[in-house]
Symmetry: C2
Subunit: 559 residues, 2 copies
Amino acid sequence: MTEKAKPLTDLQIATEAVMQPIGEIAKKAGIPEEAVEPYGRYKAKIDIDKLPVSKKNGKVVLVSATSPTPAGEGKSTVTVGLADALSKLGEKSMIALREPSLGPVMGIKGGAAGGGYAQVLPMEEINLHFNGDIHAITTANNALSAMIDNHLHQGNALNIDPRRITWKRVLDMNDRALRHVTVGLGGPAQGVPREDGFDITVASEIMAVFCLSTSLTDLKERISQIVIGYTYDKEAVTVRDLGVEGALTLLLKEAFKPNLVQTIEGTPALIHGGPFANIAHGCNSLIATNTARQLADIVVTEAGFGSDLGAEKFMDIKARIGGFSPDAIVLVTTIRALKMHGGVAKTDLNAENVQAVKDGIANLDKHIETVRAFGVEPVIALNRFITDSHDELQFVLSHCKEKGVRAALTDVWGQGGEGGIELAKHVLSLLEEPNQFAPLYDVEQPVLEKITTIVQKVYGGKGVILTDKARKDLLAIESNGWDILPICMAKTQYSFSDDPKKLGRPEDFTITIREIIPKLGAGFLVCLTGDIMTMPGLPKKPAALSMDVDDKGNAIGLM
Amino acid sequence: MTEKAKPLTDLQIATEAVMQPIGEIAKKAGIPEEAVEPYGRYKAKIDIDKLPVSKKNGKVVLVSATSPTPAGEGKSTVTVGLADALSKLGEKSMIALREPSLGPVMGIKGGAAGGGYAQVLPMEEINLHFNGDIHAITTANNALSAMIDNHLHQGNALNIDPRRITWKRVLDMNDRALRHVTVGLGGPAQGVPREDGFDITVASEIMAVFCLSTSLTDLKERISQIVIGYTYDKEAVTVRDLGVEGALTLLLKEAFKPNLVQTIEGTPALIHGGPFANIAHGCNSLIATNTARQLADIVVTEAGFGSDLGAEKFMDIKARIGGFSPDAIVLVTTIRALKMHGGVAKTDLNAENVQAVKDGIANLDKHIETVRAFGVEPVIALNRFITDSHDELQFVLSHCKEKGVRAALTDVWGQGGEGGIELAKHVLSLLEEPNQFAPLYDVEQPVLEKITTIVQKVYGGKGVILTDKARKDLLAIESNGWDILPICMAKTQYSFSDDPKKLGRPEDFTITIREIIPKLGAGFLVCLTGDIMTMPGLPKKPAALSMDVDDKGNAIGLM
């Protein structure tokens, strides 16, 4: 990245970029006009029922990363830049990305749709309400909550225990005051009092379900299987018991169509769905990935956090459900991240420190091993920052060469696709090789075995400890017959272990599972390893304080 | 209406209708292509900055009603049918309507965008998320709540008294369990505990502000003036004090563009904004009305509930702020409503009862007087139901003739515009007459005088009683200098009085004001006369239980 050399903000770069009408982008992507539903001039939804039958099965390049710094290593930026580079090389490529959540935009982030000259556009609309998908998910989630509380109020025929309702309300907002609330106060006409809480919308199981469904019919079936809580007899209560899966699916049916936008360089991008990467699987909708594969030869997509979380779930959950094999995995890393893993304090990351890079490289090495554990070969994208020194960069590139792993320096932030050409060439060479992908475990294995496999092969840990609570959860899961599901680990992204302070490549550690939550709609078992924040708060000075709109309707303060 | 003769549901009729591409409708309305932002094939947002400068100042026909039955008298249906009839007569007409709230759609109503052959399309999308405006308002409202609670949590520099925060959160949902909640529970890291509550989004002051703003700049200025609560020293705290008016306006900037759709017969309609008609003013956005007036010769619009509420506020609040004069007022009434005012029980409204119609006609008479109090002449639309008898209908028409008021039988539900031709001709003849409109009171008058004027001239009551609470509110309003604002009465829609059981034309009654709430962003003083429900609940069998979507994505169960 070269922020200092080009001191324009992402919003300024985005505003100056000349977009092509969305119809042109659709044409370039091979989407017939009758399948394009424009939303304004530069966004569209794609009616996939109107796409021509295609035998194409585009290759899937997943962009993941080493264990990140709090600022992130530029995974979305590299995803966009790599696809632009592939387009420059004449490949028919397409991007599949997550939709940004609005809550964090108001808080710290200011915006998230790639960065610099490797952005998706229109940046401002993508970052605000986009085409309304997340609002539709909020609505469906909260309609279900209203139906649950109404059921309690109208006689509770299903015998639901108000103390054991696990379904929470959501808002697409960073709002800590809503984490723990009591609802139904005010007397008999105002509902049944009970404890409740709000998550941020992207943490809703509806979002996870939305992103793993292969069709509207599948979406409805999955929604019907969601467990919302338990009766006084501790029997699970599902959406089907409440009879509202049809209404919830109706609320989601337009949102379920993938959204088409473009990069600054005009590469088509589908941006659709965006579940949390801890309590959910952290990648864009399966329907968008499938649609992109139907249209393009190479689909570049990303998964949240590092390869221990995002890539593992991408392969063990999404690829398994979607029935496809990832063909290449790009591991984004930065000198800054490696220095942090080498023990440098966050405040000192700008100073040259080759030794710290050497000390931190073990983190990269472990991520390489993790990726190879799935039978997939990684390509390292060393994402350049202006503060990186020649020796630091050279060390990493030589190290990769020694390890026999493809690696390229990228500067897509500053140069767009041009800054990702070398990376793209490596990816293309890798795509020539035969695909050896296999998920890490069989879903039929016992739950503890599946978790242990992830801990040992992906994290490099010794084993797993279950708390009493988790043990109890596991027994209930087994007695309900819910154990034949993949695992969704909710773990800190900062370390391979469950302790965010253990940087680099921790060894000899165990992972403590504190709680196992069955998500029967999404179709996975969430294993909580620590306090996982499902409703962020706002900082002392929220980004919103700098936001504005001028008299002509132009956005100010999105970063 | 002829529901029995044509047993199709509104959704079936809507689904069978052939829509014109929205670009064609825009062309018909005189909207240049560069101002049209399509949302799908049949909806668009209008960028009003790109409209040609127009000297046109279309006449405004307001559709109001007599005191309604709980089912409503078909005001939106008549609005649509009248505009279609005017189009048939060669007039360049346009519709301005409120956006339906999604919450009630899930509850009882099933849908609301006119009915039968007098509907706006696409019915299904208008009734669900439409173009996302209400979601944007929900987001802006709740972003403000999050900023308030974050301010408390981060040190409370403004010295806000958490017990005196008047700003509530909202959802577009019927959800009684959210009426009274406590937030900020769970310990010091989870915010400051306090009582709070959720209203339905259309009750948010942001919605009222949105609908009364003349530009984005005006919107921001009004938002900045909203009072969110009081300090420990009882000083008002505004959005400007929190510094987030820019961010909230940014969240609303796309929503603020009016939405263009079409009627079944192809008349252009702007559907934009939809505030409550009790604690707010109950009509679509001023920006949509102004845009329609710029484009068409006749704008047909509606206001919530009967003329005592919707029309009064339309004239004393909206027309005053907008600086225009309503040219005609259509009063929709039905035989069923008049029978109810004549003392017939809800269950017996289908049986012929001419005497009850005679007994109930006093309600219509009073609404005629109310409209004339503003210097505007009404036209009666007797909206036909299949159960109406010849004698019942004849009585009403003869009565109107005796009173010297224009009246027409309408059957726009069953026949579309054709069923409103006579009504349209009456309206056209009225539009030839000079406009004598004047608001009922001067905003400079003392608050009690303004309220008394409304009670006496509009409701036909004797006078006003203030409770101790309301008296205290009034003192605070006067000492803050907020008294020079119009009045927004929050009163039952079922009676001219504040007692919903006093049907017909009650006399010798007083109105008790229990509370006066300053809404400084909207720019009016809300006078509460009873328990006004700002968050509806769901019925025992919510409409959602019958909703579904088939495998091809078609909606089922919207009525």
